[in-house]
């Protein structure tokens, strides 16, 4: 497909999703209390969208990923929260 064809097919949908992200960030800013490592990771991921170098989806996924390589001592939960807490351990 040409760039023009991809824009014709997907631009409105991608625009919609981008505005949803902007509205989500507005909502977080409006809210009371403190954010946590997830918002920090989210903002780091947004940086990856700058520029035109391909592989953005992969780089965004890696921003959210646990970069370590050793198994953890024990699973204390079954769920994933979407961003690696690092040394912060877990959600508040």
């Amino acid at each position: 497909m040409t760039k023009q064809e991809i824009l014709d097919l997907s631009f409105v949908d991608a625009r919609h999703k981008l505005i949803e992200i902007a509205a989500f960030l507005d909502r977080v800013e409006r809210a009371k209390g403190e954010a946590d490592f997830r918002l920090e990771a989210f903002r780091s991921a947004l940086v990856e969208l700058r520029g035109t170098e391909s592989g953005m989806a992969k780089r965004v996924l890696l921003v959210f990923s646990d970069p370590t390589s050793e198994p953890i001592p024990a699973a204390t939960t079954k769920t994933a929260c979407g961003a690696w807490p690092g040394n912060k351990n877990s959600l508040p």
């Binding site: 970069p67 390589s69 953890i72 001592p73 024990a74 699973a75 204390t76 079954k78 979407g82």
Partner: protein, 283 residues
């Protein structure tokens, strides 16, 4: 028109659903999948949404997916196959895992059992890894196909790497007989580079969308790659594969490439198990 392929989604589309948890789905889903062109469904053993209290609970579950679900599928002309294991979410309890692994061999000769799955990791813990290695050993001893789950979200990259290492550490395992599932853009390369098959899971929110799956087909090719819905008791879509076929059509992919991705590739991998036979009936 001469020379033009004429596979239409209504009349000719055929697909295999290689990963669906039909115990969680209603009969209407079987009907809709059959009407959309599904020839066969494969059901990996998974977590029930709660921890089972004993190995006997797994025995009953294995009976359900080897006896009852094939009958539900057969009512709509589809074959139903399954994979057995204790799911990674219940693998922190090594003693329970050992008890479940001990009962699996008595099911392996059943006519619709394809291999072990979905084995793997969830939170990448030491016990999960130990249980994964126990499953790999059982698969090697019985020369079984393997379907490996990979963890969710932030745990996926590390879990995929650990899973690949565990599989590579057992020299009896042939990568071409292993499908590593739930790949995304940051893990598909390491899976394919390792010689394994890769599964893209079309699951809302936490895994892969149709458009991203087609992106990965366009960037990584069609070799050793399949798609599945992994539909279960969560927010999921039993017709995710035909919907992705429509996305491929919109993006100009030929009927032959679509058929390769949604029918021929899963057939080729699964046919490594001699028990995998597709029904004769076609629309």
């Amino acid at each position: 028109m001469a020379g033009q392929q004429k596979l239409s989604p209504v009349n000719d589309m055929r697909f295999i659903e290689p990963h669906a948890h039909m115990v969680s789905r209603v009969t209407d889903d079987y009907r809709d999948m059959a009407a959309a062109g599904c020839a066969a469904i494969c059901e990996p053993a998974f977590w029930a949404g709660f921890d089972r209290s004993s190995a006997q609970g797994f025995y009953d579950y294995f009976a359900q997916i080897t006896e009852y679900e094939p009958k539900r599928a057969a009512k709509f002309g589809m074959a139903h196959f399954c994979w057995l294991c204790i799911n990674p979410k219940e693998s922190e309890n090594v003693q329970l895992a050992q008890e479940v692994l001990a009962i699996i061999p008595q099911f392996l000769d059943r006519p619709t059992v394809l291999g072990l799955g979905e084995i793997g990791l969830n939170k990448n813990s030491r016990n999960e890894l130990k249980v994964l290695e126990m499953h790999i050993d059982l698969a090697a001893k019985h020369d079984l196909l393997i379907l490996a789950h990979t963890p969710h979200l932030e745990d996926k990259r590390k879990g995929t790497q650990l899973t690949i290492e565990a599989l590579k550490n057992d020299r009896r395992i042939k990568p071409e007989r292993v499908i590593i599932d739930h790949v995304e853009e940051h893990t598909i390369g390491m899976v394919l580079d390792g010689g394994f098959w890769a599964g893209m899971t079309l699951y809302p929110g936490t895994k892969c969308t149709s458009s991203r799956a087609v992106d990965m087909i366009e960037t990584h090719g069609t070799e050793r790659l399949w798609m599945n819905s992994a539909c279960d008791w969560g927010d999921s879509v039993p017709l995710a594969i035909p919907y992705t076929a429509l996305e491929m059509r919109k993006r100009g992919h030929s009927a032959g490439i679509i058929d390769r991705m949604i029918y021929q590739n899963p057939r080729d991998f699964l046919s490594q198990c001699p028990k995998f036979k597709l029904p004769e009936f076609r629309f």
